[in-house]
């Protein structure tokens, strides 16, 4: 279980303290898939960097399985919004990187994300969507407790994003990993998660935490259901209130 307790963070620019996160607290239970949504520049990436251990918060702390997060570690792998595969390794080598897993395990995860036929390809030979799936396979192969995703699908086109969403849901049903995803795509957030945390503008505070009532085995058609649309409008209102 991930506990975030009263985290505040300031950036120092010259002599000025710029607050980006203000007293953020929430929990993520095992096997939960949580989205954070909020206006851009609200400090969402800062929160991911703190949870990843790249950054120390000015105040407060985060604990994973009751251990305080102090530095980066294999128990929480990050999938970045940038391309984070190593150009000089083929997909197999990328997925195997840093995990002392046998060939079978590595291949299992490559197959899980549907890249079996591309194990020997280099990243530059793959499309944007395939690269993201490879990053996902690398994260899963490390078998972490917790996966952090920072707008992982933001750079993909609409069609590719829809396909990858389906795959992500599929993979999540199989692996039941705890995950936190940052996005500013409201539909993506509702479609993928059990819980959505809505952030305010900078300095980010939590505006609301919304439970998503759909079961894990959801289909694309739920996007047209009245419940889905209701949640979507609620989030839209919460975000647009800011302006």
């Amino acid at each position: 279980m991930l506990k975030v307790r009263n985290i505040s963070h300031n950036f120092q620019i010259k002599n000025k303290q710029i607050p980006v996160l203000e007293d953020v607290s929430f929990d993520i239970e095992e096997q939960e898939f949580v989205s954070i949504i909020g206006p851009s520049g609200a400090g969402k990436t800062t929160l991911i960097n703190i949870l990843a251990g790249y950054l120390k918060p000015t105040k407060g702390e985060a604990t994973l399985s009751s251990k305080t997060i102090k530095k980066p570690g294999k128990d929480r792998v990050v999938i970045s919004q940038e391309e984070d595969l190593f150009d000089w390794m083929n997909i197999y080598e990328n997925v195997k990187f840093g995990v002392n897993k046998n060939q079978e395990t590595v291949n299992k995860y490559i197959e899980l994300v549907g890249l079996k036929d591309f194990a020997n390809s280099y990243p530059h030979q793959l499309s944007g969507g395939m690269k993201k799936r490879a990053s996902l396979a690398r994260a899963l192969a490390a078998e972490p407790k917790f996966i952090l995703m920072d707008e992982p699908f933001g750079s993909l086109d609409y069609q590719t994003r829809e396909t990858i969403h389906k795959e992500v849901l599929n993979i999540w049903q199989k692996t039941k990993k705890t995950a936190l995803i940052i996005t500013h795509d409201i539909e993506e957030a509702i479609y993928l998660s059990n819980k959505i945390i809505v952030f305010s503008e900078r300095p980010a505070r939590i505006k609301k935490i919304i439970k998503i009532p759909f079961s894990y085995s959801r289909k694309n058609s739920i996007k047209n259901s009245s419940e889905f649309i209701k949640i979507k409008n609620e989030i839209k209102d919460l975000i647009s209130n800011e302006f």
Partner: protein
């Protein structure tokens, strides 16, 4: 090479020869500046038959290979280390920035004082010519490692050694090769310069000697060979680059 490319090159080549012949005719057959293409071609065959040029070619190539190899090893090593360790880098970098603008030829007098005439001076000048582009490119390659790669390495908790071996080195490899390509060109120019002044063998010495003997054909032959060999040295690095960096298209 495709057929049209071959044809284009042939046309360029023939045009040059025709122009050369034209200038020769204008200057007249008794001039000391420019020999005829025909005489040059005949002398070309003669110097290879007698073997006198072959020795000079190998001496120059040997000097370049040794000086360039030394420069590659030290340039890449220091570039990686000083690029990675920021503190050490900030002490060392100003020294490089001051030494770098000094052209290799300006080192020849001091090189001759230290190493005397001959191989020692040539190795040293070639080393200097090649070292700076190799070092600088490697250094900036390491410096431009994206944050996201460092983060992946941190997340997966890999050791410093693995980080160096599997990430930093390979990420820098395209930059290193840019350095090597510029470096081999500099090395070749430097060896010729060093031989013009501070040696008694090599292609640089060969053209200098034939200036004193007023053998203009041989000067031209020496220059053509310098151009051709420089081109091939560059080609070798380019082929190695394509082989060793398959992920860069």
């Amino acid at each position: 090479m495709t057929k049209p490319q071959m044809k284009q090159k042939l046309i360029t080549f023939i045009t040059l020869i025709v122009l050369w012949q034209g200038v020769f005719l204008i200057l007249g057959p008794q001039n000391y500046i420019l020999p005829s293409p025909k005489n040059t071609a005949l002398t070309f065959i003669k110097v290879f038959e007698s073997g006198e040029i072959i020795k000079h070619i190998f001496v120059s190539l040997k000097r370049v290979v040794i000086g360039f190899t030394l420069a590659s090893v030290t340039g890449v090593f220091l570039g990686l280390i000083l690029g990675y360790f920021k503190k050490a880098g900030s002490y060392f970098h100003p020294i490089v920035e001051i030494l770098r603008p000094i052209p290799p030829i300006a080192w020849i007098p001091i090189a001759i004082l230290i190493f005397g005439l001959g191989n020692g001076s040539a190795y040293f000048i070639v080393f200097l010519g090649a070292f700076f582009p190799i070092f600088t490119n490697t250094f900036f390659g390491v410096k431009s490692l994206p944050r996201v790669y460092k983060n992946v390495a941190l997340s997966f908790e890999v050791t410093k050694f693995i980080f160096f071996k599997k990430i930093l080195f390979y990420f820098s490899l395209p930059y290193i090769f840019t350095g090597l390509r510029i470096g081999i060109g500099m090395a070749w120019m430097s060896v010729i310069a060093a031989e013009l002044i501070g040696a008694q063998s090599g292609l640089g010495y060969f053209i200098q000697l034939n200036r004193l003997l007023l053998q203009t054909e041989k000067i031209i032959i020496g220059m053509i060979l310098i151009g051709m060999l420089g081109y091939f040295l560059n080609k070798i690095i380019s082929i190695l680059e394509k082989r060793l960096i398959p992920w860069k298209i």
